[in-house]
């Protein structure tokens, strides 16, 4: 069973992400949740996680800082990080891909795009 960590300061956004992944046919997964980058790093230290889906604009530690911390850690570098953000345009996407994000999705999530990422980039369905 794959374990997915969803990082967003909004409980509503976390629920929307879970629902979108579910509708896209993701089976046999369990979800962990964090409200910002700091909380996410604590979970990553203590728990086995297979994928991270993170927002960018968050208090305490934002998603870009979290991505950098994950990708600079020899222990976590392999972890695919999907960024889900309302701040997506071509410049933001290029920067995040350069920082080794596995994919960048815009809010509000569009199901065909989510499905494509789950199938082609993450091999989850």
């Amino acid at each position: 069973m794959a374990r997915i960590l969803i990082v967003d300061d909004s409980a509503t956004a976390r629920a929307l992400i879970r629902r979108s992944l579910d509708i896209c046919g993701l089976k046999d997964v369990s979800f962990l949740e964090a409200g910002n980058g700091k909380e996410a790093l604590k979970i990553l230290k203590d728990e086995k996680v297979d994928f991270v889906f993170t927002d960018i604009n968050m208090p305490e530690m934002d998603g870009e800082a979290l991505l950098k911390r994950i990708k600079s850690s020899p222990k976590l570098f392999h972890l695919p990080v999907v960024v889900i953000t309302s701040l997506k345009n071509s410049i933001a996407e290029q920067n995040l891909i350069r920082e080794h994000a596995a994919a960048v999705l815009a809010k509000p999530l569009e199901l065909p795009e989510v499905h494509k990422i789950l199938r082609d980039s993450l091999n989850l369905i």
Binding site: S10, N57, S86, L87, A92, K107
Partner: protein
């Protein structure tokens, strides 16, 4: 600042976000004086725009429509204050991001974090008029103030 481009980007962001999050199509937009559109006790979410210009995006909802919108977003009845505020903040964040992504598709932009409160005084509001967006079953008011 290209005013027409700003309005097209903002309307596009609101239309797409509401279609996707609350499954409602835009029917009409009217410009109303604040005294006509806004009441004490309404929810107001403010979102600072830091780049490519300085300003604030305001979204205003009365209690009934706020509850209705967040319930549609989540897919279950939401009536507690904390969840309503969280849902409205997320909607504002999504609209704000989508708006700037449309306005400057090839430039960097930066937003603050959404802050939701209740309107306590009409005279202290930083705008004189709002745009009211009418959807099939709900509505919201918007004001964009540039500094």
């Amino acid at each position: 600042m290209n005013e027409e481009k700003l309005i097209v980007a903002l309307h596009g962001a609101i239309t797409e976000s509401t279609e996707n999050l609350i499954f409602q199509e835009l029917e009409e937009v009217r410009i109303l004086e604040k005294e006509e559109a806004v009441r004490i006790g309404d929810y107001q979410v403010s979102l600072k725009i830091k780049e490519p210009f300085s300003g604030t995006l305001y979204l205003i909802f009365d209690h009934t429509h706020a509850e209705q919108i967040v319930t549609e977003m989540i897919g279950e009845v939401i009536d507690d204050e904390k969840s309503i505020i969280d849902g409205l903040n997320e909607l504002c964040n999504t609209i704000g991001g989508r708006f700037l992504a449309k306005y400057v598709p090839d430039e960097s932009f930066e937003l603050g974090l959404p802050e939701c409160g209740k309107i306590e005084s009409l005279s202290e509001l930083p705008y004189d008029s709002v745009q009211r967006f009418y959807f099939q079953d709900t509505q919201l008011c918007v004001s964009l103030e540039q500094e």
